[in-house]
Amino acid sequence: MSPEYFRWEESNWHSDDKDWRKAKMITAGIDVGSVSSQAVIMVDGELFAYGNMRTGSDSPDSARKAMQGALEGTDMKREDIQFTVGTGYGRVNVPFADRLITEIACHARGANFLYGPTVKTVLDMGGQDCKVIRCNEKGKVTEFLMNDKCAAGTGRGMEVMSELFAVHIGEIGSMSMDIIKEPLPVSSTCVVFAKSEAAGLMRSGWSKNDVLAAYCGAMAHRVSNLLKRVGVEEDFAITGGIAKNIGVVSRIEKEIGIKALTPDFDTQIAGALGGAIFAGDLLLKSRKAI
């Protein structure tokens, strides 16, 4: 079997120094996206564990797999979780969700927790869509725009390019920065056409790095137009898989003239984390009602 260049690393993490057995509140958020699925477990409002897996052809199965990834290495069981919120593209298919919440609200809430309450604009670059969210200091959405019609400016487009150039997806960003002069961006907006345009550029003698830079530049340009439509207020943060791609992030920063906050965690978990925070609120509400 040939190597799969688009295949990013699945990951999971859990906190060792936390005793969840004494906790009053154990909540989870599950984000089943079009490309990746995440599960985040929070104990008493603090991040306890997460799993980040590839979405398969079966959404309920992907949700279960992400949950297993998060629980791996801990002695917690799925039954110990008191409230679960499902979110993302495939949220209707999460079998053990107590409530479904749109990914827009969840991403705003998750970014608010991860980057702090100063975040006012969140750009989520997901697997198959792109969202611009404006939120207030509490993480409540004040305006949003979502473009899920077109794969240009999404992770899927980047995966297509990584396969074409036989470059691992994690290296595209740094390779696209390793150039002498910034090339003109790829002119096609559609990923399928952009792929043939990129192949054409390669044939006409461009180096791999230059073509990747041209593609990252095109992607940044498309996303910047969405950002300008809604308006960017500082602080500005990027979530989703593309936030790990320095080539796209730095070009977006250049285009809008605003620096993005630098993350020190996996940016893909923002949606599921927001779901887990919502789950905490809903659990408290339901307890008060009793």
Binding site: V141, F144, V230, F278
Partner: protein, 106 residues
């Protein structure tokens, strides 16, 4: 005298501005529903000849109008009958809204 103590309640009451639609090679196609003005009266739901608007309870338990998710990716074509090229456009959803919460980007 300041009214700072009112701010938390005010922010809780505010809705959000939602842009439904897409950008493609031919332009921007967005219907914007301003949740700060929309109270979920559903007059636009009745007015739309293509029946693309519905009133939902959103994530913050507010009643607001929303563009149906199966229509979002085809707005350019679905809304075309209300936007004739040769005569003045009469956007029925916009005229029906008593608070002017609906705008079209194209």
């Amino acid at each position: 005298m300041t009214f700072d103590f009112l701010l938390p309640t005010l922010t809780l009451m505010l809705g959000y501005i939602a842009n439904y639609g897409y950008t493609d090679g031919s332009g921007d196609y967005y219907i914007t529903i301003d949740g700060n003005n929309c109270d979920g009266c559903a007059k636009c739901v009745a007015a739309c000849p293509e029946n693309i608007i519905e009133v939902i309870l959103n994530d913050y338990d507010e009643l607001v109008a929303e563009v149906r998710s199966d229509a979002v990716k085809n707005l350019k074509y679905i809304c075309a009958p209300c936007k004739p090229v040769s005569s003045p456009r009469e956007l029925k959803c916009q005229m029906a809204c008593p608070k002017g919460a609906i705008t079209h980007s194209w």
